[in-house]
Amino acid sequence: MSETEPTTTDAAELSRRPGRRRGRDDGKFGRYGGQYVPEALMPAIEELTDAYERYVLENEDGFMDEFRERLADFGGRPTPLQRAERLSERYDREVYLKREDLLHGGAHKLNNALGQVLLAKYMGKERIVAETGAGQHGTATAMAAAHLDVPCEIYMGERDINRQRPNVFRMKLNGAEVNPVTAGRGTLKEAISETMRDWATTVENTHYVIGSVVGPHPFPVMVRDFQAVISEEARAQSIEKTGDLPTDVVACAGGGSNTMGSFAAFVDDESVALHAIEAGGSTLEVDEEAGVAPNSASLFAGEEGVLHGARTKLLQDSDGQIMESHSVSSGLDYAGVGPELAYLVDEGRVTPVAVDDDDALEGFHRLSNTEGIIPALETAHAFGYLEEHAADLGERVVVTVSGRGDKDLDAAIEETDKRDVAGAPDMSMFTGGI
C-alpha cells in the first residue's frame, strides 16, 4: 500500500493530478459551468478562485501536504479497495469495493469538508457555513470545523431534519449550529439557496463549504480535486491488487461529488467505463402541474439550465422553474448535478443510469446480507445497478461504497415495510418489542 500513503506533494506531481485539466480557467466544461451568482458574491468567488489556484493547485504554504496528512491522521485514509467475494461469485466477474464507508464519519464527504475548512483557515476566514441534505455533508463539515477549531453553522431543510435526526444530533455534538430551512419542500435545494443568502450577507469573514461538485466556479473543480483522492487511491490499489486497471467504475450520483471523486483519476483511461447511477425514485415520469419529479435523475432525464451558480442539467418544467425532486435516499435528492458530470455525459465519457427506489432497497439488503456491509441508501443504488446490469460490464468492476447505512436504518425499516423486498429480514416477530 506504500504508494497510496500520503507523500510530499510537489508542484510537478500536482500538475499531473488527474482531472484537473478539464476545468479551464473560466470554469466552463463545454456549455456547462460558469458563475451565475449575485454580484455581492462575485468578489468572494474571485478570492476563492485565487486561493484554490494557489493552495490547491500550487501547494502554496504546503497546503496540500497538510490536507493529505490530516486526511490520513484524522480521516483514516487510505480506505481499502476490498474484493467482494460473494458479489464476485454472484456476477461471475471480479467486484471490488472502494470502502469510503470506512472514512471517518462514515462517508466520502469528509474528503471535501476537511479540504474546504482547511482552505478557509488558510484564507483567514473566521466562520464556516454549509448546507446539508441527508446530513452527511453537514456532519462532515461539523467534524472538520471542530477538528480545525472554526465556528460552523449548517442549513438543513426541515423535512430532512425530520428524516435524519441522528445526523442533526451529531452536528450539534461537534458544536455546530443547525438552522432549519422551511422554504419550499424543505430539502437540499432550499438549504443551498438559504446558505447562499447567508454567504451573501457575511461574505467578508465567512467561507461557504459547498457539499458537492455543484455551484459556481471554482466549487465544481475544487470539490472534485478534494474528492479525487478516492479514484487516485482506487487506481493505484487496482494496479497493485490485479496488475491492471478496472474495466468499469460504478458510483452513485446525486450532486456528483462521490461520482466525480470516483471517476476523476480514470477519466483519461479510455479503457475504463464510467457509470453514474442516479436515483430513479418511484418513476421517471414528471408531474409538470405540481412541479414534482418523483426522481433525482438530472443527468439521465434533466435539461440544460442555470441553478445555484452554474449551467448544468436540471429537473425543471418547460418554463424553467426548478422541480421538487424525490428519492428514497435524501443524499441523492437534488434537482441539479455537477456541471462537469453533465459535460462528461454529453461527451459520451460517462454513462448515466437511473435505478429506482425498489431496486436500490434490494441492493441495500443484498450488500448487507451477502457481504456484511450495510451501505447508505445512496450507495445502494450502485448495487441495484449491478444486479440488473452486471452482464454488460467487464471483468473487473470497482464500485464505490460512498457511505455506510447506519444513518438510514429508520428509513430502511420504513421503506422495507412498504414492499416485498427479496432478502429483507423478517421483523414481524419483533413488532411492538422494539
Binding site: D26, G34, Q35, Y36, V37, P38, E39, A40, M42, P43, A44, E46, A183, G184, K189, S193, M196, R197, A200, T201, T202, V203, E204, G291, E303, E304, G305, V306, L307, H308, G309, L314, Q316, S318, D319, G320, Q321, I322
Partner: protein, 284 residues
Amino acid sequence: MPATGNSEALAAAFADGPAYVPYLAVGDPDYDASLEYVEALDRGGADVIELGLPFSEPIAEGPTIQGAVVRSLEGGMTPDRFFAFVEDLDVEAPLVCMTYYNLIYQYGDGDGPRDFVEKAAEVGLEGFVVPDLPAEEADPLREACDEFGLDLVFIVAPTTTGDRLERIMSRVSGYVYVQARLGTTGAKSDVADSTTESLDRLREYDVPKAVGFGISTGEHAERIVAGGADGIIVGSALVDIVAEGVEADLSTEAVADRLESLSRELKAGAERGYAARTEAAESR
C-alpha cells in the same frame, strides 16, 4: 454602450429629478389583485416600476420577497402569464422585468435569452434586472437587449470595486442598481453607510444611480437622494403591505390604498432629498 441606454422612457424617468422605482412580484397574491397593486404604485408617483417574475429558487431574496414568490407561483404565475399581465397593465411608468436567468434562458426554444427579450419588447417592457447574472455571463442577454432596444441593469454591491466595477459599468444601461448593503433583499429600520461609499465610487460614470436594499420610509428616501442617488428602489417594504393584506384578509382596495400612500411618502422623501442636494450645490 451609451450611458443613456436604449430605452428613451427609462432615460426620461431619470432626466428630471429623482426617480422613485418600486418593485412588486407579479401575481402576488393573484393576477387581478396584482394588477390593482401595480397600478396603485403608478398613481403614487412611480417613475419606473420593477416587475418581478417569480423564480422557484430566488437566491438573492430575503424572506419577504421569498414569501411573495411562493404566493405568486402557487397562484399559477408563469412567464407567459407575466407577459399577458404587462399587456393588461394600465400605467404610465416604464416597466422593467426583474427575474432570474434560467427563466429568461428557457423561454421559447430553450436555447438562450433572445426569445424572452423579443417577447418582452413586444409587450412593451423597457429593460431587465437579473440578480444571478454577473457581467461575465451576460453577453448573450446584452446582445439581445441591444437588438430589441431594451436596457440591461446591473447590480453594484458594496464589495464591487476595481476591475469588476469597470466590467459592469461597460455593460450596464438604463440605470445602475446600487445595492445599499450586503445580504439579501428586505426592509430595514435603517439604511447602511456603505451607500455613500458606493455612490462615491460611481460618481465618474454617466449613468443614473438608483439605490436599493432596505429602503422603507420617506426619511430613508430623503437621506439616500440627498447623499447623491438619482433614484431609490423599494421592494420589500411594498411587498410587506401585500403580505399583511393576505394575512389580515384586507380588501384589494385597502391594500392598493396603502401601496399608493407609501409610494407618495417615498416619492416626497426623494424629492425633499433632491431639493436639499440642489440647494447645497447652489449655495456652494
